[in-house]
Every structure is written in C-alpha cells, then in structure tokens.
Symmetry: C2
Subunit: 247 residues, 2 copies
C-alpha cells in the first residue's frame, strides 16, 4: 500500500511524525515488511536497493491477528512481541518436531490430533504412568501421549536430544491443549521413581501455543541426562508418573 | 619383599601355580606393585625394565587394610575392587576438591573439619535451607555446609562444573560423615522452589567414603543446569531446602 503523495506536505510540518519516520533508519537495510497489513501499517518505497519509510497514517496499529478477533491497537514497535504471544495467532500442530505443518483454531486441535496422529495413545485420569519404551534408541527421539482429565486434554512429551554437543539429555513437559490463561488453572507433577531415589518436577502446564521447543530452550521442564535415565529405567523402559491437579 | 629362591623348584612342579604366575603377563609392562604388603602379597623382581611375578605363596590374600581391622581374605583378582570399598580404608577429607590431603579414621573426620575447615557453617535440624550465594561466579565452584541431626553430621555440597565441555551444570548431594551402612538408615530431600515450579531430588545419603566425585560422575544426585538455576535463584542466590529423615 503506497501512501498518497498528498499527505507528505502535512507530515513534513509535524515534528513527531518526522521522529517516527526516522526510527527505522538506524537499522540500515530493511529486512522487509514484517507485520503484515493491519490498520496503519507501515508504507515503504524502495529506493536504490534500500527501503525508506515514507509516511505512517497511524502510529497505533492493529495486531496481525485482528481478523481472527484480536482487538488490540499497538505501537508498531510492540507488534512483534505481542504477535508472538497473541491468543488469536493460529495454533500449530503441537506434536514435537516440525514434520506436521497443520495450523488452525484451538477447537480444531484435538480433531486434528485424532485424525492425523492416530498413533498417539490417550489415558484418562489425573494420575497416570507415561511409559517411554526403548529410551536407548540412538539420536533425537520424541515420546508423546495424551492425558484427559478435568474436562481437558494434556499432551505429555518426552524428548531426547543433544542441546549441547556430545551431551544427550531428556526433557519432559506437559502441555495443555488450551490457552495460556486456561493453563494457569492447572499444575502438573512428573515423577521418576527408582531404587531409593526419586526425581520430581512440578510446574504449570505450558499452553500448546508456547510449544515444547520454548520449554526445552529455557530448561523450564524436567531435565535429566542419560545416566539419570538409567538410574530410573527398567530394561530400557522409563516410567514417568504424571499427576495433573487444579490450582 | 622378594621371594626366596628356594621356593621356585617347588612351584615349577605345580601346574596351578604356573597358571597363576602367568596371569599377569597379558598385561604387558607392569604398573608396579599395587596392593601393598598384606598376607600372601605378590612378589616381583624387575628384569630388564619389566616386572615379572615370580611366586605366590598363597592365592588368598588379606585386604590392604588388614592392619586397620579388615579380616577378609580374597583372591588377588578381587582385591582392587574390595579395597576400593573396604570400610577399613582410611577416610580422606570429605571437602570437595583435592586441596586437602588429610586422611584418618572416621572418628577423626569431624575434629579435622572443625579444626582445618573452620569456615564451613553448621546448621542444626532435620529441615534447613542451604543458601548458595553468587551462583553466577565463573568457573568451577563448590558450596559446602554441614547439617547436624539424628546425632549425625551430614555434609551438603553444591558443585558447579563443566562435566561436558561448554555445558555448565550444578550438582547437589548430601553425604553422611559415617559408613555406607550407617548412611542406609537415612534419606534426604533436596528441593528448589520457584515461581510455580519445584524441583525435588530424594535419595539415600552417600557415605563420605564414596565421596562427592563418585556421585557427580554417575549423576546420582540433584543435577540442574544454569537455566534451571536461574529459574529458582533470587538475585544470584540459590536456596536449597534440605530435609533429612530416618528410614
């Protein structure tokens, strides 16, 4: 969308607009339009291979997900951060790994899982055992199952990966098939029980909107290495007691 | 101790001794006498820079720590393993790191700590908080304190080190100033509490005879990385709730 030339003289008179117009220059060559075409979206013309902002019709912009229902109006500098956590952002398939490219509404997530990921087992109840078999399988491996309780579905994920080269670790986390706000109403406990040893992690479930990768990146989950896994495993199988509770 | 030459003709007649005599040859150049001078200890002569066994007066040998009270008689192949765990082996200073070379009897450990490591704080009670300050200090760091309860002294150790290059981790463990058998009568719990998160490790205390290094090597302790430490730390200080109980 190009700015009609008629607005330029007006903008030249207004110091505050010039200030805003100049903001992007510190960033050098633009990486392109990032925020889509919401209300008051940035208008650019390409001159000699660089992109210069020409005018802004409104410094407050609607979210990228305005059409999905987001009513927020934000300064353009706040948009990327908001859009990362916007509850109206479409949900992607919560299965770990990047192989499934599905995305849709929250209500469509469970039907998608039941249709496209039939192999995922579901157990009913607040207190179940998540049995990961063959934990000695080489390379990066994910174990996934569903737990249903309190009228909600939770996804249990155990991921083995080398976050640090040469050091294989296990990461276990519980995700709610729901929003972040809904997730705050619950707590989960993961428990490894062995011979006179117990390792426990208690936390708030992640919303599938955040995903597994964010939890692993921050180690905000149950983390243990292969030596610990072997202290608790039985014949290569690792049982994790999972308890969900309401806060 | 050299074998009197007079026993050689007798040994040449006995097939079972020849078999024993030959055992060491598979190992190539000897690393020297390893087991000290207990009953029936190995006798060697040095020939051309290599060490060859000449005779064995008794295939059953006393422990290296026989003089300290160990009554066991072992096959020489069992000796190294036994001597590693022999309760009569002198106790070394339990402080992590190799700087203190003290060793002595179990009864002398506490007097040694109180005399030579005065800076170590002691707290009384079954349930205390082990506060590790400045966990962001660079490099390998140890935090140590003592906990007294049930008529025993326990050493609490938090160690930060790079077990895997480029991946700094924290290891926390509780050691009993006592024997392995005494340690089996207790359990300990280490708990990190944060904002809607809790990480707990429960296990049997290690005897100081095993030491901190063995627990860390096997990850048989509370293990967490710097990201997790920051989830639970407050202004660079990490409080670990420590609870000791009797089984």
């Amino acid at each position: 969308m190009l700015c009609p030339a008629s607005c330029l003289p007006l903008l030249r008179e207004m110091a505050q607009w010039r200030c805003l117009l100049g903001w992007h220059r510190h960033h050098g060559v633009s990486t392109g339009v990032t925020a889509g075409a919401g209300l008051g979206s940035e208008v650019r013309v390409v001159v000699g291979g660089t992109t210069r902002p020409i005018c802004r019709t409104n410094p407050q912009q609607g979210s990228k997900y305005a059409s999905a229902g987001c009513l927020l109006s934000l300064h353009h500098s706040e948009k990327p951060e908001h859009e990362e956590v916007c509850e109206f952002r479409p949900y992607t398939c919560p299965c770990p790994g990047a192989s499934c490219k599905w995305q849709g509404s929250l209500e469509a997530v469970m039907p998608h899982l039941m249709h496209a990921h039939k192999s995922i087992t579901t157990l009913q109840g607040e207190d179940i055992v998540f049995l990961a078999t063959d934990i000695n399988l080489p390379g990066a491996v994910d174990w996934v199952m569903m737990q249903s309780c309190f009228g909600h579905h939770f996804m249990l994920v155990l991921e083995k990966q080398e976050k640090y080269e040469g050091h294989q670790q296990f990461f276990a986390v519980v995700l709610l098939i729901g929003t972040r706000k809904q997730a705050e109403n619950f707590a989960y406990r993961l428990e490894l029980n062995g011979n006179r040893r117990r390792l426990t992690w208690e936390a708030t479930p992640r919303s599938i909107h955040d995903g597994v990768a964010a939890a692993i990146m921050n180690s905000d989950c149950l983390v243990f290495d292969t030596s610990i896994a072997h202290l608790f495993a039985d014949n290569g199988n690792l049982g994790i007691n999972v308890t969900i509770s309401m806060c």
